[in-house]
Amino acid sequence: MMLQFWGSKLLQYILVLVFTLALNFSLPRMMPGSPMQLLAGEDVGLLSQQEREEIMARHGLDQPIWRQFTIYLGQLAKGDLGYSYRQRRPVGVIIGERLPWTLLLTGSALALSAFIGVICGTLAAWRRGRFSDLGTLSLFIFLDSMPSFWLGMILVALFGARLRWFPVFGAQSPFAGYTGWTAMVDVLYHLALPLTTLTLVTIAGLFLTMRYSTLDALGEQYITVARAKGMPEGHIVFRHVLRNAFLPVITVFMLSLGFVVGGATVVETVFAWPGLGRLMFEAVLQRDYPVLQATFMMVTVCVIAANLAADLLYPLADPRVRVEGRRF
């Protein structure tokens, strides 16, 4: 029974993966526009017909689309992500350079916002209707409604340009040649503003979820019973309320985790952060097909993996869904 359940689950994930691979492959090619300028350079208009055909043939773009797709799948099976049209370097190498920066920024922003969101959400629910609850609630809703590029620009203008506390672009001081401990400090120093921006704009989702699910749990009858038994308030909150309130938060968190590799295009652009989001955005604008395919695939795989992880984690956190074969 259990085996059958996980078998069908796995099959489901594989189907999703294949479907999205086909979609990732065909969507960029269906978009209007062509990578010709990237392939041929700035004087693309002066090319003769024969030169154009040569260029298309060199990149396999003269083949019918199904043939291109099978070639792509063949390469993918060998772990070859192709060459970027723009950078003329292997896509795998480019992603390898970008991924750590993205994970550093989006990963720590998610961790930080989850930490703050959960704590503040719990406290706000506990203090429902009080000033501290209404204050944090309106603050987070305010932050949530603020466009991240705007917040980013304000932080840059204030803490970067005016107060000069933080650098205004990049992830490292260029040409500084820092090593070891200094290099790490330098990165943290560059990370401060983008991390703050991203944390502030992502906090709200987790905070609101945590607050509402805590409120929900606080209203349960077993809490009334616990209170009636004279159980200490802290005990009630940490033992009984939080364990139950956490469940929806895990879902939200895992879903966000899947999108972590996609980066934060807007924040990365404002701070010139060398992450994957910017790479993807550039690739879309310029129709750099191999980069588009590879980055979209990474996001797909991570979202699927995060879902899978959520599926696996849920029974650990919530004994009620451990019932054999039960769909959740």
């Binding site: 209007p32 062509s34 002066l46 203090r127 205004v168 672009f169 010139a272 550039e282």
Partner: protein, 546 residues
């Protein structure tokens, strides 16, 4: 929702003492987030007045390994390329070709045979001497290994005969009107001893040149470090090191300039920022004519725009001076109806744009516009990422509404606009638009051969940039004659005729040429030289003409 009331009651029962804890915790958490690394900021080194000059330059995109086959953009890619590689000639401040690698030269009367003598003692970055063999090798390499810019440029070179290390003779199969400018001042010379075995230059990344700077490091999408070539044959360049950082975002670029993280930006400053920067004591602003054109491109194939009267009516309806004042805040030049920038020697003096709404209405009336198209809505395409062009389009739509032409502005991402106006960048594949705001780069302004490509009706051979499918018989003849005319007077006469024809038949409306506006920090380096129409990022900013 039955639990709601209960919860409220419960919350109110909480001991009051604990809310103080919450009140303190929240601000503390925020302070931690905001101030995480204030104390960690690495100490900045004090500026050393006596030390070498290191300039930090910001560009918007990566330019590959910066060799002739891997650089990406016409600007600033080609400009940076020519800091690393040399050309036989070099355009001066006024865009007149001056001998550079070449010490002396002469040609026969037909302009078909040219002999050149190179400077002595020119070396490659690896120490090997640059000889006439390298020149021959480069031109032959470009002919055999296709590149959008170089291959076409060297097509007319029939043979190069090397006499000795310094002397060589070039034979042309047909006269080339601006031979000294293109190819000689455009095509970089590459080292034969490094490139001789290269078969796939698109994936060859070596960047050993002979230019005033050499690339010492490149972190893709982040930085380049260029170091002065102290052995340069014209003397040590003025700046010792050029550190290039890639900042894609415009606001981030100019914030970095303001705080001094960079010393100069390759991108032009937006007109509305000029005042702010001019007021700063640390930043200087240098503005001058730009040869990049901004056009209202018209689809000459599509009714009713196939009627020259309708196109002329469009031109008459637009007030170019108003556009320059409103959109560019005066930082630009109103378009010559004959296309060529008034600051160029080829400009036909006296051609003036005329705004005349009454005449525009009469022209439309004559063309029978109102009857067939009075209710039709035409689309004006623009790239959404260019705020100046978006504003331009809005104003033009209003101007055209005033003569009864209903135009809707449609902003799309740039690749989509390209795919409608210039599908696959191949004019023979047709086009699907009414009107578009378009522009051509500086080379399409400077080189008469490319001007012909905008206008000739044979799209497969001559008219490869004729994205409006304009057709004018007399224009074709002039373009063909211009392409083989070397006599400067005849050239000027033909160019003048061409501009007059363009002004009369309006294949497109030349709206304006935005100024190049460059902001830099003079305390680091103040030797920037504004090359007319092309900006300050050029060899002459670092090495004077000999």
């Amino acid at each position: 929702m039955t639990g709601k009331k209960t919860m409220k009651g419960k919350a109110a029962n909480c001991p009051a003492g604990k809310s103080r804890w919450t009140g303190i915790l929240l601000p503390v958490l925020f302070a931690v987030v905001l101030l995480t690394a204030v104390s960690c900021s690495p100490a900045t080194a004090p500026a050393d007045d006596q030390g070498p000059i290191n300039v930090r330059l910001a560009i918007a995109r990566d330019e590959g390994s910066l060799n002739p086959y891997t650089y990406v953009s016409g600007y600033p890619g080609h400009n940076l390329l020519l800091l690393i590689y040399d050309t036989l000639f070099q355009l001066d401040e006024q865009n007149v070709p001056q001998p550079w690698l070449v010490k002396s030269y002469q040609s026969d009367a037909d302009g078909l045979v040219w002999s050149f003598t190179l400077h002595e003692g020119v070396t490659w970055h690896d120490g090997a001497p640059l000889t006439a063999e390298d020149v021959k090798f480069s031109y032959e390499f470009y002919r055999e290994h296709n590149h959008g810019r170089w291959t076409k440029a060297v097509a007319a070179v029939e043979s190069i005969e090397v006499q000795d290390e310094l002397n060589f003779t070039v034979k042309l199969s047909a006269p080339v009107p601006a031979f000294l400018m293109n190819p000689l001042a455009d095509v970089p010379i590459i080292p034969g001893h490094i490139w001789q075995d290269v078969t796939d230059p698109d994936n060859f990344t070596d960047n050993t040149g002979s230019g005033p700077y050499r690339v010492v490091s490149h972190e893709p999408d982040r930085t380049y470090k260029l170091e002065a070539n102290t052995e340069y044959f014209l003397g040590k360049p003025a700046v010792d090191e050029i550190g290039i950082v890639i900042i894609e975002d415009q606001t981030a670029t100019f914030t970095a300039l303001r705080v001094g993280d960079i010393d100069i930006a390759a991108r032009s400053l937006l007109p509305e920022l000029v005042e702010e920067f001019s007021g700063s004591p640390d930043v200087k602003v240098l503005a001058g004519p730009g040869f990049v054109s901004t056009l209202l491109q018209i689809n000459n194939e599509r009714e009713p725009f196939d009627d020259p009267r309708v196109r002329l009516a469009i031109a008459r309806a637009i007030d170019l001076d108003d556009l320059v004042e409103t959109v560019l805040l005066g930082y630009g030049t109103a378009g010559n109806p004959g296309y060529i920038h008034p600051a160029l020697p080829g400009y036909k003096t006296g051609l003036q744009h005329i705004t005349d709404l009454a005449q525009a209405r009469t022209l439309l009336e004559e063309a029978g516009f109102a009857g067939s198209y009075g209710n039709k809505e035409f689309e004006l395409l623009i790239r959404s990422n260019d705020p100046l062009r978006v504003r331009t389009a809005e104003i033009i739509a209003e101007s055209l509404a005033a003569i009864g032409m209903n135009v809707k502005v449609k902003a799309l991402d740039s690749s989509t606009v390209d795919s409608l106006v210039w599908p696959d960048f191949d004019v023979t594949q047709g086009r699907d638009y009414d009107l578009a705001i378009w522009g051509w780069s500086a080379p399409v302004m400077l080189d008469p051969a490319r001007l012909g490509a905008l206008l000739h009706s044979d799209l497969t051979t001559w008219g490869t940039l004729n994205i409006g499918a304009y057709a004018g018989e007399s224009v074709d003849a002039v373009v063909e004659e211009l392409a083989v005319t070397v006599d400067p007077d005849r050239q000027a006469a033909l160019l003048s005729d061409l501009q007059e024809m363009v002004a009369e038949t309006v294949p497109f409306v030349t709206l304006f040429y935005p100024d190049g506006i460059y902001a830099y920090r003079p305390e680091t380096y103040d030797g920037w030289l504004f090359q007319n129409g092309q900006g300050i990022l050029n060899k002459l900013s670092f090495v004077p003409i000999p």
